[in-house]
């Protein structure tokens, strides 16, 4: 069961929008920072909140393509998180809700 956000800020919406725009693709930290155009600490604060709310899950890259480098950690919206995020963006940023051909059952990103 995911929680509702207690505090919705512009960076929060940016990060959520980034996840929705990515669809089913998992995003790593730098990708989120780059796509949302927000600073690292800001993004990670929001990621922590999203994770606590149950909107986002994270996993380590088990098979790193570059073994000499530190592993990446990938984030993706959960099914319920995606539907809630879509509803939130529709409410707060109706013009920027990404259009998707995927059916909305269960949020589509499960």
């Amino acid at each position: 069961m995911s929680d509702a956000p207690t505090r919705i800020t512009v960076p929060f919406l940016d990060v959520v929008e980034t996840f929705l725009a990515a669809g089913n693709v998992e995003l790593h930290g730098w990708a989120i920072i780059k796509a949302s155009r927000r600073g690292g600490p800001t993004v990670y604060k929001i990621l922590e909140r999203l994770t606590q709310m149950g909107w986002v899950t994270a996993r380590w890259d088990d098979e790193p393509s570059e073994p000499n480098k530190p592993r990446r950690r990938y984030y993706i919206l959960t099914g319920e998180g995606a539907s809630r995020a879509r509803a939130l963006l529709a409410e707060r940023r109706p013009q920027t809700v990404p259009f998707s051909l995927r059916p909305g059952f269960g949020g589509g990103n499960a």
Binding site: W30, G39, K69
Partner: protein
């Protein structure tokens, strides 16, 4: 020719330094971001380890060499802010500044420290003007100059001490730092008093000072009285277990005292306005604004960690307490 050689050498040295810095930047960025992860996570070792690896990779993914360093610095600043918030038990830097400027009566050392800072710092700002406006005398170029200057210099560490005195709210801080806040505050007050003393010496040479001086003394007396009151009644939080929470009588007395002191400050402000002594008016109005918070209206928003009262309502910005009787 010498200038040409110097410029060539400087440009070569600058190029070498920048080149070296660019090579060192990724390594430095990695170290910085790992330190940031530890600071961010606090006592959570698992989270620290997670972020160390993850942020290290994030920095690795960032393009450029100096860009990595910039991003790492950003992470470090974010972690620093987070650590400060966690350590001080504050929600935001803005609220900590607000608390530093307007602390409540719950901590005696905080009240003393902040009052002292308030008085000392304003003195530092006010007395140079006063010294300039007064007629030159044999004393002016030497002792008063140094005292005013010293007071100004003191105001800088005292500004830090204002924050420190605010931090006395936090029970996590060691008692030594609370004592330090109080000691610095007392020094501030003494320095302010010293400057006033010097100003008294100069009264004879400047007729205008004879008008100003009683007002300053009055205002200072008000400040000292306020501090004395809060110290005497012992409105310290029971965070050290040595002082009891304020009783209803204490609060009532303080409320009345604060009203009188505010009126006094406002009267001084009016006098300042009438006599076109702008800075005096500003100081008095500031005092009038600070006093009620300082002396404590129990209905004013209180901080969350107030142990003197029962938490009635809390929001993101403030918490309301009912005093325990």
């Amino acid at each position: 020719v010498t200038t040409l050689w110097i410029s060539v050498l400087v440009s070569l040295a600058t190029g070498a330094v920048i080149n070296e810095l660019c090579d060192v930047a990724p390594w430095l960025a990695d170290k910085t971001v790992r330190a940031a992860a530890e600071m961010w996570a606090g006592t959570d070792a698992e989270l620290a380890q997670t972020y160390k690896e993850e942020w290290s990779r994030v920095i690795n993914d960032a393009p450029g060499k100096l860009t990595k360093l910039l991003h790492a610095a950003y992470f470090y600043c974010g972690a620093l802010e987070r650590a400060a918030r966690r350590r001080l038990g504050i929600r935001s830097i803005a609220s900590s500044v607000a608390n530093a400027l307007v602390p409540s009566w719950r901590s005696t050392s905080s009240a003393v420290g902040t009052f002292a800072i308030f008085i000392g710092a304003l003195n530092s700002a006010v007395f140079p003007f006063a010294a300039q406006s007064s007629a030159p005398s044999s004393l002016m170029p030497s002792l008063p100059f140094w005292l005013v200057g010293g007071s100004m210099i003191l105001s800088f560490p005292l500004a830090g001490a204002a924050c420190l005195s605010c931090f006395t709210y936090s029970r996590r801080l060691p008692r030594v730092r609370k004592r330090l806040a109080m000691a610095v505050g007392v020094v501030a007050m003494l320095s302010g008093g010293m400057v006033i003393g010097v100003f008294m010496v100069n009264v004879e040479s400047d007729p205008a000072s004879s008008v100003l001086l009683p007002l300053y003394l009055l205002w200072f007396t008000a400040g000292y009285l306020a501090v004395w009151n809060s110290s005497l009644i012992g409105l310290s939080p029971p965070n050290d277990g040595r002082r009891a929470p304020p009783t209803a009588t204490d609060v009532s007395f303080l409320r009345h005292t604060s009203i009188y002191l505010v009126l006094l400050s406002l009267a001084i402000g009016v006098v300042g306005i009438i006599f076109h002594i702008d800075y005096l008016a500003i100081v008095a109005v500031c005092a009038a604004c600070a006093l009620p918070e300082q002396l404590g209206d129990p209905n004013l928003p209180r901080r969350r960690d107030n142990k003197c009262g029962e938490l009635l309502d809390s929001s993101k910005t403030h918490a309301v307490f009912r005093l325990k009787s």
